[in-house]
């Protein structure tokens, strides 16, 4: 399955200024407005150019390994009310997650626009690794901004990025996580925009980023839709994904949005529990405001200061969410619900032991959600789960969580 230049999107949203209903838009410094307008034009031109989509599709197939498999998880499904559970295996992509889909598109676009340097923000490190990978492949310079807290809990990915030739800049301000890495990436970009492309990693930021990233990730749902039709002869009852910034979920959902019978379920990171205030469940526990160039749901206090998010998953530890998700929530087309750290880690262990697949902790939130959705829909249901990434990077966290380190080996 490939990205189809002719039908890059199937819904009329966003409007010409990047709005999904009241969400999205461009809340950006004037210094970036010319670059954002150029990006919007160039992306549209590239996606209409068969030479560009041909090269992208070639890389997706022969470098990233697309199409990704749709694997039936029969033993896992026994815990999901007997519903059929089908895993969309983004974990099998090169670099280990869905992030490569977006990055290959943006890196090719950057090269087409004559930019010689890529910058990126990263939380779990998956987007940073994917960006460093694409930069190496295309001979571009690369700098990745990563919160200091995340460089500690995802040390392996820091090493991977550096091996690939990227500079990794630990960000020590604010909560020292993903939101601060975003701030720092924007600060870099405003000073380097003449030769640098900011390769935003999720369906977030000022227009056109939320739309561009969605269009590059929608291959997930396009493939899954065809695969599930072929396997089961019908459309699924539910498509389930985790939601941080929202790129794997938006990618998984988008092709199914017009299929009214298909329920779309996004699971947010509830950390220690919504009631504790220590969570990253933006739609469930947040309110509408402006962050990182977009209007959307975010975690904020009564005065509009961002509230720091908390999640065991670095990739979901973000106080905002892509604007199209806010719109899908308000319109009722998708349902968003919270999954705690404990629920996610239980599902993490369950998939390991029933299917021999170690998921990313981010994706484990989707798996925990799938258990709930499956039980709710019952044994006749077909549930597609976006397994957005693999868990190699999370072994340290998991080993500590489950007490797998022999005494004396555990480190803080």
């Amino acid at each position: 399955m490939t990205i189809d230049a002719a039908r890059g999107t199937s819904t009329p949203l966003p409007d010409s200024e990047g709005h999904f209903g009241i969400y999205g838009g461009r809340f950006a410094p004037e210094a970036l407005m010319a670059a954002l307008a150029e990006l919007e034009r160039e992306f549209a031109a590239a996606m209409a150019d068969p030479a560009f989509t041909g090269e992208l599709n070639d890389l997706l197939a022969n470098y990233a390994g697309r199409p990704s498999l749709l694997t039936e998880a029969k033993r896992f499904a026994e815990h999901a009310g007997g519903a059929r559970v089908l895993l969309k295996r983004e974990d099998l992509n090169h670099t280990g997650s869905h992030k490569i889909n977006n990055v290959l598109g943006q890196a090719l676009l950057a090269r087409r626009m004559g930019k010689r340097r890529l910058i990126a923000e990263t939380g779990a490190g998956q987007h940073g690794v994917a960006t460093a990978t694409a930069a190496a492949l295309l001979g571009l310079e690369c700098t990745v901004f990563m919160g200091e807290l995340d460089t500690e809990r995802q040390a392996l990915n820091v090493a991977r990025m550096r091996m690939l030739g990227a500079a990794v800049v630990p960000v020590g301000t604010g909560s020292r996580t993903l939101k601060d890495a975003c701030n720092e990436a924007f600060r870099d970009w405003v000073a380097t925009v003449d030769h640098t492309h900011y390769c935003v990693g999720s369906t977030m930021g000022p227009h056109p980023f939320p739309t561009m990233v969605r269009d590059l990730q929608r291959v997930i749902g396009v493939e899954a839709r065809a695969q599930v039709l072929e396997l089961t002869g019908r459309l699924p009852d539910a498509v389930v994904a985790c939601v941080g910034g929202g790129s794997n979920s938006m990618g998984a959902f988008h092709a199914f949005v017009p299929d009214e019978g298909v329920g779309l379920y996004g699971f947010e990171a509830a950390g220690d529990g919504i009631e504790t205030g220590r969570h990253a469940a933006t739609i469930t526990g947040g309110s509408v405001g402006v962050i990182h160039g977009m209007r959307t749901y975010l975690l904020q206090d009564a005065e509009g200061q961002t509230i720091e998010s908390h999640s065991i998953s670095a990739g979901l530890d973000y106080p905002g969410v892509g604007p199209e998700h806010s719109w899908l929530h308000d319109s009722g087309r998708a349902v968003y619900a919270p999954i705690t750290d404990a629920e996610a880690m239980e599902a993490f262990a369950l998939l390991c032991r029933t299917e021999g697949v170690i998921p990313a902790i981010e994706s484990a939130h989707a798996l925990a959600g799938a258990l709930k959705v499956g039980r709710e829909l019952g044994p006749d249901a077909v549930v597609v789960v976006c397994l957005s990434g693999r868990g190699d990077k999370d072994m340290h966290t998991a080993a500590e969580y489950f007490g797998l380190m022999p005494a004396g080996e555990a480190s803080a």
Binding site: E17, G25, F27, A28, A34, D180, G304
Partner: protein
């Protein structure tokens, strides 16, 4: 006094206006008010009070530090209005410079109402583009407040026209592509940006001053900018004096000294 009056007064004296920025509640609630008062006494023509925000995406390390300090100290929107009130009481116009979310959260109309009743002149909005500014245009008209939008080196003529049409008080020309923070030299593109902005304003048959900011740190640079702009905007250099002073008194003394240096600069540029 309105911002326009302050610029007119400077123009009558054949000099540029000096616009000074400090975040509210920095280095403390009381210290912040003393600091802006000192800046007024030592020669600032217009004061910008920054609203401390958790995610200052367009600020360099100096202002990030100050804002972090203010927020850790419990800075609130009420402190911004208190600082505005203190400045307005001196007869010098006070603008609030803020990222958009705190205003959005407060409620645009309520913010405009409370700013006006504190004696504030208007808002400088670095991440609010004309495309998203509808509610603010309405509220600022209702409360007779100035709207200072930014133009950048990368702005097209079409955008400069759009931005200046919406602006009131003055237009903020960002002198360089980058975040806030003092630099050693003024970008060579800055005079051209001011010229393009003035041309757009003139083509509209209006008269609106153009202030230049970002990177200006001393009297020599102020004089250079005063040679081609109507106003010289200084932020990080003031903040730096307060961050570096070992006591508040020392910081305030340094602040007065810098203000005097800059005030001499804006008077020697032409």
């Amino acid at each position: 006094m309105t911002v326009q009056t302050a610029f007119d007064k400077a123009r009558a004296e054949d000099r540029a206006a000096l616009v000074g920025y400090l975040p509210a509640a920095f280095p403390s609630r009381e210290g912040g008010i003393r600091a802006v008062t000192a800046m007024v006494e030592a020669g600032c023509d217009v004061i910008e009070i920054g609203l401390p925000y958790s995610d200052p995406m367009m600020d360099g390390p100096t202002i990030q530090d100050a804002v972090h300090h203010a927020l850790v100290g419990g800075a609130r929107v009420a402190d911004v209005f208190a600082a505005v009130e203190a400045v307005a009481a001196t007869g010098v116009p006070a603008l609030v410079m803020t990222y958009w979310n705190p205003v959005d959260r407060y409620g645009v109309e309520a913010f405009a109402r409370d700013l006006a009743s504190a004696g504030g002149s208007g808002l400088i909005t670095p991440d609010l583009t004309p495309e998203e500014a509808g509610p603010w245009v309405e509220a600022s008209d209702a409360h007779d407040l100035d709207r200072v939008f930014l133009v950048a080196l990368s702005s097209t003529d079409e955008r400069i026209d759009k931005i200046t049409r919406l602006s009131r008080g003055f237009v903020y020309a960002a002198s360089l592509m980058g975040v806030t923070g003092a630099r050693t030299a003024v970008d060579t593109g800055a005079p051209r940006l001011v010229e393009r902005t003035r041309a757009a304003i003139a083509a509209q048959g209006r008269d609106l001053p153009v202030g230049l900011g970002l990177g200006v740190g001393d009297g020599r640079q102020a004089a250079e900018v005063a040679g081609f702009a109507d106003g010289v905007i200084v932020g990080s250099a003031f903040v730096r004096r307060l961050l570096d002073g070992s006591t508040l008194e020392e910081g305030l003394a340094d602040l007065r000294e810098l203000t005097a240096d800059l005030a001499a600069g804006v008077r020697s540029g032409r």
